[in-house]
Symmetry: C2
Subunit: 458 residues, 2 copies
């Protein structure tokens, strides 16, 4: 029977890491292993991240699925354990890891560790590791695995299934098999689903799909993830410039890319650099967090000077109408808010591919209409306040300024991501804070210019 | 041989929709079908979205994989075609759709269309449709499919593979099979991978995995997607309160949920309501776009009044030191920027589960240290300017204000998502714009208060 766990209703128990440390303190490794026995690899990995590295390395060596658990750990903990384990143990674990994850780990080690490790691996694994590690970060090559199943076009279905049975333990998936010619050029693919349904004496070559979806080894990994999601693939074959099959990317790695990219865009939109996708806010060193945040903040300090210069230019109109200062944050802020809304909508639409560069002009008209409607709504709200605190003339200044500021802010906000995209810069990195500071400065000038025209004459 | 397409290097050809319309204008449906022949379902679906609905419905009926193509279309185009197709054709296509997608479509139809459609479906499909459509949006029930493969524990491997061969066309996946008892309670699962490797005379019940990962039918779909990604599952079984297997959610639907949720959070962070996840900025009606944006903008207008009130309170100090206005946008903006960075980091960390409610206090100390460092950096930048435009006293006001504003802004920014989470509100909806306007008002008060203390005595 299935063990149904009633998480919220059960008695509170101490967290697993506390139980593990207690057992290990008592030199009772069997109890500790019993706790981990029925857990999934990723849950074990997480528990082993919470306990001292000496305990974690002892427990890891006794786990039946130690390579899976090690693979599921964060790169920080993997590196700590790599330091702590005997070289032969580490080589054993690394040999059992999936090829793509092994390459990721290898790249994260320092040169001394790398050259200590290589001789401990078998010849074939070593060459594979060298090959996978040399692909540039962010490309298909850097996330693909070399462990896929291949079949010959001339095989019968019986022979194909027999081949998969034999190769299964080494392949990352046997649900998609690839058919290659003698030069290992990709010719077609066939799923295990199709193999299971087919008459046993038919040939693989007659049943395989020839119009397959594939990618090049230097394609951007973001594109790879999009292809896998778009075509609902289990795995995407990766070829080199000669059409030779060099690896596959599986759906689970694509899901990780989608999450990491979404996270990156989200952080970038608030002016936080996001080069390390798996950073954990609880654990990241403070200096690193400082560095990630300081760049945009200082840039924006200087950006805000533009607003200051605008104010300086109109200092006399402010001095003679101090009530204008009361509405300054409101008007300026509204332009920034409307602008960052527009920018965010465009950044997302560009990222998802809903919108391309040449749509800018067509969208401009729509944006102006919406911004006009928004500006009028907001102008009505603020005009009432202007009349109460000032007079009819101040109310008029506010109405005209609000409409102008919201419209110009929106147009700047929607255009900036296009411009950055055009300049081959990442639109996400610039949205909210940059747009806000540009809109702020523009807003100051619009507001005080209108005020000078209407109130200056009095 | 594989047809390698050199996308960027080939001659420019007219887009597919133009070619299709030309062929259909010439009443040459065969040419139009020839264009679509070797394309993937999703690509065909996209092409058919770009052409008039009358043409699209004619072509759809002639496509061999029409149900797949129809399934891949946007809900807007599905509804248009549902209006346009003969009822029997529509019923045929709908019968061939995956059960989960059929239920989604059904829910999007109006009651008159629903009752026109139901009698045209077979009895079993009709009941399944009714059952799947009644689950609440956003839950596992609303995205699961009822088309999964089940096996009996007493079957031999040979019998199991034979069963899958027979059931394959109806199941969404045969790569994971579920073993249920006579009451259809979930007992275990076995993958096709395991079946292929197992000796043919063994029993399914002896080889199946009993410690399986599953979810409840009323679990949040965000949780479902997280589970699938965390455990790298192909499919997640969904049970009801009695432990009865009622459906499965497949990895491709989970990927869609991940993308949609990321999109929603991203838009919410800029104060855009994001209830329709698949909205396309090019096509959404302007009134709807206006409605999505106006709410937060008007709220923020009133929010900014707090800043105005702060200014009004200190009007005399501004009048006697008009240089203060020059630095107002800069200081106030810096607090907002630092605050929205902190808020964004927390919103993401809460969304990914890296951080939970009880971490707030622990993170507060870290945040204060980082904010202090950031504040000092920014204060140095601004103090130089203050000295140039004003004097040493003004520079001192700026230093103290900047440090205070950045620190308080950061603390507000990091705390607000926790507070909203505590109040069971969505932290994402409140980050950037709300934080900015709260930090703005706080910044005004801090700045002018410090100025009044230091400059007021002169």
């Amino acid at each position: 029977m299935l063990k149904i766990q009633f998480g919220e209703r059960s008695m509170p128990t101490p967290p697993i890491d506390v139980l593990l440390i207690e057992a290990m303190d008592a030199v009772d490794i069997q109890s500790a292993l019993a706790i981990l026995k029925e857990m999934q690899s990723i849950d074990i990995a997480e528990a082993l991240e919470q306990i001292p590295v000496a305990y974690a390395s002892q427990l890891l060596l006794h786990l039946p699925k130690r390579a899976k658990v090690y693979t599921a750990m964060s790169s920080v903990r993997q590196a700590e354990l790599a330091q702590h384990l005997a070289r032969s143990d580490l080589a054993d674990i690394i040999s059992e890891m999936p090829a793509d994850k092994r390459a990721d780990l290898f790249k994260s080690l320092d040169p001394a560790q790398q050259s200590a490790l290589l001789p401990a691996l078998a010849q074939a694994k070593r060459e594979d590791l060298r090959r996978l590690s040399h692909y540039e970060e962010g490309t298909a090559g850097a996330i693909m695995t070399s462990e896929y199943a291949t079949l010959g076009a001339e095989m019968t279905i019986t022979e194909a299934i027999e081949t998969l049975r034999r190769e299964a333990p080494d392949a990352e998936t046997i649900y998609e098999s690839y058919i290659v010619d003698t030069q290992r050029r990709l010719m077609g693919e066939i799923s295990l689903h199709e193999l299971i349904l087919a008459p046993l004496d038919h040939k693989v070559g007659d049943l395989m799909t020839r119009d397959i979806i594939y990618a090049q080894v230097d394609d951007d990994q973001d594109e790879i993830a999009k292809k896998i999601a778009r075509y609902d693939l289990l795995a995407l074959p990766i070829i080199d410039a000669q059409g030779v099959l060099v690896g596959i990317v599986t759906y689970d790695d694509a899901m990780d890319v989608v999450s990491a990219e979404a996270n990156e865009d989200f952080l970038k939109a608030a002016g936080v650099e996001a080069s390390t996708p798996d950073m954990n806010i609880k654990k990241i060193p403070l200096l690193q967090l400082y560095k990630k945040r300081v760049f945009w903040l200082v840039i924006l300090v200087f950006g805000s000077l533009l607003s200051g210069l605008g104010i300086a230019h109109f200092e006399s109109i402010i001095e003679s109408n101090i009530v204008l200062v009361f509405f300054l944050p409101l008007l300026v802020g509204s332009g920034g808010n409307a602008g960052s809304q527009s920018a965010t909508l465009m950044v997302r639409a560009l990222a998802t591919g809903d919108v391309v560069l040449k749509d800018w002009f067509r969208l401009l008209g729509r944006e102006c209409l919406v911004a006009l409607a928004l500006g009028i709504t907001m102008a009505i709200a603020v005009a009432i306040l202007g009349y109460i605190r000032g007079d009819a003339m101040v109310a008029l200044v506010l109405i005209l300024s609000m409409i102008g500021i919201v419209m110009i802010g929106s147009v700047i906000g929607m255009s900036l991501p296009f411009i950055l995209n055009r300049l081959k810069l990442d639109p996400a990195s610039a949205s909210a804070p940059l747009v806000t500071s540009i809109c702020d400065a523009t807003g100051v000038v619009i507001y005080l210019f209108i005020a000078a025209q209407l109130l200056g004459q009095i």
